[in-house]
Amino acid sequence: MKEILLRTGEEAIRRSMNLDISEIELYLESRKTLEINVEDGKIRSVSLSKDRGCGIRSIVDKRVGFSYVTTLEQDDIDKTIQSSISLARVSTPDSDFQSLPISGMKYTQVKGIFDSLIENLSSDDAAELILRGVQANRESLSGMDPKIIGILQVSNTTRAIVNSHGISEAMCLTQIMLAFDSTIRVNGTQANSYGDLYSCKLKELNPESIGMNVGIKTKSMLGVKKIEDGEMSLVLSPVTTAHLLKSGLAEAIKASNVQNEQSFLKDSLKTDIASDILTITDDGLLDGGISSRSFDAEGVPSKTNLLLQNGSLENFLHNSYTSNKANVENTGNAGRQSYKDLPLISSSNLVVLPGKESQEDLVAEVQRGILCNISGDRPDLLSGDLNAVVMEGYYIRDGGIVHPLANTIFSINFVELLKGITRIGGDSVKTEYGVNPSIVVEKVKVSSG
């Protein structure tokens, strides 16, 4: 498939050479995804999608136009090139646009992001995997009649980038994701929990472990209670740490947001924005990283970029446009979810330098606080203010878990959260956002109502 995508792209570039354009880029993708859905503990539906398409960026005198099409047929691609050129012609020339990336850069092959076992996984074997997890969840909630929702996604993606400056690169990626959500009802009250695992390697997937852990967490959520409002310690689980760093820090240090003055960290480069125990890299080359890739969404080689060193903000995340505008090195962070998107900026794998303690050790030191296992909220990009719902969490008193929480929010400015980190765990977990441990933050306002 790599060869087909590269040939399709290179031929389209050749056909476009006689058109009145300055530069052109094609991002071609072929993605096969198998998805199995479980409802009430039973397989309900299966979807097998074969998504192929091409996103085309044309530049005419510093004016950019973008079009995509959901096929790879030559006729469709040629019409889409014409569309993107038409749109470029009505755009405003952007004096900050210098050039698409130019060939001649050195690429590093990333290990552990393609697994032929995932590529060749049959529908039958996939069904067996998810049902093993369902069974483990059911057994961990024996006698409680759990209602189990599950989803298994198996994807095999080939993507290629070809541009008129000689960039012509392709790569293959595989990914498997298994998630469970189980619900129980006991004496009229309902408890629920969720858990997932992403991996690029089939062998890293243990359905029984995921199903059982979600079951154990579900049981632990019985008997939710509110707590008295106040300022207290906050322990963030690895999953919540990952989510908050992705939605808070990574968003705020995108150079596009900084250059547009849309970030609460716009003036913070080379200043202390976090506790001195916090060091974070963005590692696009991480072995087996869920967001690893040998090149970014514009064909620029991936790197390992230091973001925070002992609390000091060392780098913003750049694509070719923002790095040219700021006249700094491109960090290789152009990102797009698929061929349907213009390349914007995205972190790859955010990796927090871990400590040594387990989550239990961290909790044991908390006098009064909460443990947040899951939160889906993000800070306001302009102010950094964060109100986050504890979607799943527990009250901690005198070093021990007391009870699960009901309707609880914690509120803090994101910079204060980063500065308030006092301890970092050694329990790092790999997620789609990176590799992150539990952390402890002091003096967080918590309300429960």
């Binding site: 409802e39 009430d40 039973k42 397989i43 309900r44 539906s45 299966v46 979807s47 097998l48 999608s49 074969k50 998504d51 192929r52 004016r63 136009g65 973008f66 079009s67 995509y68 099409v69 959901t70 096929t71 019409k79 889409t80 569309s83 993107s84 038409s86 749109l87 470029a88 009505v90 755009s91 405003t92 529908s123 039958d124 069904a127 209602k147 929702i149 959500d181 619900t183 309902q190 629920n192 969720y194 409002d229 003055e261 213009l342 889906g376 909220d377 306001d380 302009l382 203010d385 109100n387 719902v389 979607m391 799943e392 009901a406 309707n407 609880t408 929010i409 509120s411 309300s447 109502g449």
Partner: protein, 461 residues
């Protein structure tokens, strides 16, 4: 295309499907973005292909193809049946798909078809709105306007005899104004849109939206961060809409019921709220962003009264959920595109107006917050929990509106919140939006009157 659809269905039936359907789609999209008078983003898209579903032995399988030849359809249809048969061995409780069949050809009415308006005219509108924003106040530092359009030709056909052709036209306009005063900066925005032509998002409604966004951004410069804690609140129509949508609407989607995961599972036909509370989902209202006459399975849509005078009354069904739960399909299955499976979704969801004037409600609340605008939110039906952020609001002290605030959010549980609604305003407004669920985003509308809720948990400073 109808011949190709029939070929697909016959292919799947011959291969052993008990039920089969196909959606053949061609969608053209465009997005234009202007920042401070400069055209920053221009994108277009052509999505074309077919989604084929086979059902047998209680198992569904979906495949997609962009190869709209008989060869492509044959391969895709055969694969769908193969997978459905394979999965059916794991099904312990098979069921049958039961529905009427429908034949229709429908379209969104447009006075000025989007295809008839040039890109240059669309850009001109955005530039004019940007100029108005920046001229509104010298505190407006950045004016951004986005135009989006989606024009879809969709054919839905199934083995029960349904053949429905739809032409959908959805324009959307988003206006953002950013204000700055020293180190303080804020953002105001307004979204307008519906189903129809260019008339939906141009003219006075666009100018009003621009003024609203600029006013909000500038006024927020003198606001203070909201205080958190348990408080009485009044939600404005925008927040009321998202409350109806996120906290009740999603919980009424019947796939939560077949999964037996919703917190409302044992509450059907039970009283959950005050007598005045009626929540409706009505995709048959014309001209709104969530309007459609037939759903993405070809079932005729209808007005659904989800909560009727406080009682949980009706669910939102796909063919699958209606068949499992032995209910009448009510045309609520929607899909983002042919790439996705149709699942129960809302269209236009709103709280029906009550009898209270806003000033009476403020006076009655006495102390609390008037919370306005939607800055984001979500609900988790399995936990029965939701969270919404307000774009702004006002403190209410001794029955009077006071200081403007920002940074407030509310968190609650579905059941608690229904019981906390005390009074319902007599005003009503509807707002266009886009709703995400299960990796799929579909256009929708939500709204209603002001609501007074007692003792809500508010996130703030």
């Amino acid at each position: 295309m109808e011949d190709l659809a029939q070929f697909a269905i016959q292919t799947m039936l011959k291969a052993g499907a008990e039920f089969a359907d196909i959606r053949i789609e061609r969608t053209n999209e465009m997005k234009l973005e202007i920042i401070n008078g400069e055209v920053k983003t221009t994108t277009s898209a052509l999505q074309k292909g077919a989604g084929l579903r086979a059902f047998t032995g209680g198992a569904w399988a979906l495949t997609q193809t962009s190869d709209l030849t008989q060869k492509g359809i044959l391969e895709s249809g055969t694969e769908a049946v193969r997978i459905a048969k394979l999965i059916s061995q794991y099904i312990t409780e098979p069921y049958q798909i039961k529905s009427k069949s429908y034949q229709a050809s429908v379209k969104h009415d447009s006075k000025i078809p989007l295809e008839d308006v040039s890109v240059e005219e669309k850009i001109q509108l955005l530039k004019e709105l940007g100029t108005r924003s920046r001229e509104h106040s010298n505190l407006v530092s950045r004016a951004r306007a986005i135009y989006q359009e989606q024009i879809t030709d969709l054919l839905v056909s199934n083995s029960l005899g349904t053949v429905v052709k739809m032409k959908l036209s959805l324009p959307l306009l988003k206006i953002f104004a950013h204000s700055k005063d020293g180190q303080r900066s804020h953002r105001g925005f307004k979204i307008i849109g519906g189903s129809g032509g260019f008339e939906v998002i141009s003219g006075e409604s666009a100018y009003d939206a621009s003024e609203y966004a600029s006013n909000l951004a500038v006024n927020l410069l003198t606001s203070k961060r909201a205080s958190g804690g348990v408080q009485d609140i009044i939600t404005d129509p925008d927040l009321t809409g998202v409350l109806a949508h996120e906290s009740f609407g999603h919980a009424c989607e019947a796939d939560n019921w077949t999964a037996k995961s919703t917190i409302l599972i044992d509450k059907f036909q039970k009283k959950l709220g005050v007598d005045d509370l009626t929540i409706t989902d009505d995709p048959t209202r014309k001209g709104l962003r969530g309007s459609f006459e037939y759903d993405w399975e070809g079932t005729k849509s209808k007005r659904r009264v989800l909560i009727d005078q406080g009682v949980l009354n009706e669910l939102l069904h796909s063919l699958s959920t209606a068949s499992i739960l032995d209910a009448e399909p009510n045309g609520a299955a929607r899909a983002e595109s042919f790439m996705f499976e149709p699942i129960p979704r809302m269209g236009n969801t709103f709280v029906e107006p009550g009898s209270w004037a806003l000033d009476e409600m403020i006076s009655d609340m006495k102390n609390g917050l008037l919370m306005c605008g939607v800055g984001g939110g979500y609900a988790i039906s399995e936990k029965g929990q939701f969270m919404f952020r307000a774009t702004h609001g006002y403190e209410v002290e001794n029955g009077e509106i006071g200081q403007m605030i920002h940074g407030a959010s509310i968190v609650g549980s579905h059941l608690d919140t229904l019981s906390k609604i005390e009074t319902i305003g007599k005003d009503t407004e509807l707002y266009p939006g886009t709703c995400g669920k299960g990796y799929q985003a579909v256009p929708d509308t939500s709204g209603g009157p002001h609501l007074l809720l007692r003792g809500m948990n508010v996130g703030g400073s």
